[in-house]
């Protein structure tokens, strides 16, 4: 574990962010993080990706809130399917 390389660092990212690494693996991970700028950049962009996924469907302002109302077409289709069922 002392000799953790970029490949293992990358493999452990998800477990690290989920807090699932055991203390020894976590220490090796953090040591590599300190010493390797490309892995720091990789961790940063991975984390940003997760955040971006979480907000990709959020409204950016009051004007583009996703309408909560069901489109009329959908309501009709669903009620029609119910009558047929």
């Amino acid at each position: 574990m002392e000799d953790l390389r970029c490949r293992e660092f990358t493999d452990f990212l998800l477990a690290y962010l989920d807090g699932e690494l055991d203390p020894r693996a976590r220490a090796a991970f953090e040591e590599h993080l300190q010493a390797c700028p490309p892995c720091r950049d990789y961790l940063d962009s991975y984390r940003r990706t997760v955040e971006l996924v979480g907000t990709a469907w959020s409204p950016c302002g009051p004007d583009d809130a996703i309408p909560e109302d069901a489109p009329e077409e959908l309501v009709h289709a669903v009620l029609e399917a119910r009558r047929r069922a």
Partner: protein, 210 residues
């Protein structure tokens, strides 16, 4: 500040008055057609958004919602009062969308391996990445569009796990049960999906892009 996701099943803003919800469930159990319409109007929009995230903007998404409502109405007697109606419907529409995904014809997909990072024999990055631009410098609406477009490019097996875990906020065990795979497979697919999406976003978001 990230705005709350209005379509999240756990969003307290969308929490209806529990007494009203109980009345609605009672009416649904007595096969009241008006109650059914009320249910569809109250939840259909959010359910359609969930189906679209899993199925894209095809006709499959409204079809999945339609099937979800038919199955919800059929099984309303099994709805347990402890769960929220929105949470229950969320699970039903996720199931309906996954069913559609399993039965529809696959479109050609880019292999996920093409989008994963590569390493030299000594374990170092083959192409060390470049830092990304600070979030503040990016036009939010444009970035949201970019992210949605690129999520849609992921192979079905990976996109599904990414959407269910990172957007619909199901836990690993729930996703594993829905997809009938073990928890390890869910974690591996989630990690690969995030890495692949990172690769797809990288040319647009890196700081040295100009």
């Amino acid at each position: 500040m990230a705005p709350a996701r209005p379509e999240s099943p756990n969003d307290p803003k969308s929490a209806p008055d529990p007494a009203a919800e109980e009345r609605l469930v009672i009416a649904l159990r007595s096969r009241d057609e008006d109650a059914y319409e009320q249910l569809v109007r109250a939840h259909g929009g959010r359910m359609l958004a969930v189906a679209r995230r899993l199925l894209g903007d095809s006709e499959d998404a409204p079809d999945a919602v339609q099937e979800a409502f038919v199955s919800a109405f059929r099984s309303i007697d099994s709805f347990e009062g402890q769960a929220r109606l929105s949470t229950w419907l969320h699970r039903i529409v996720v199931n309906a969308a996954l069913m559609k995904l399993r039965t529809r014809r696959r479109k050609p997909e880019q292999p996920i391996d093409d989008l994963l990072p590569t390493f030299e024999a000594d374990g170092h990055h083959r192409e060390p990445g470049k830092p990304w631009q600070p979030a503040a410098r990016l036009e939010q609406r444009e970035v949201h569009r970019l992210v949605r477009e690129n999520i849609a490019k992921l192979p079905d097996a990976y996109r599904t796990v990414l959407v269910l875990r990172d957007i619909e906020e199901l836990d690993t065990a729930e996703v594993a049960a829905l997809l009938e795979v073990n928890a390890g497979v869910v974690k591996t697919r989630l990690h690969r999906a995030r890495q692949a999406l990172r690769t797809l976003l990288d040319p647009h978001l890196r700081a040295d892009r100009e």
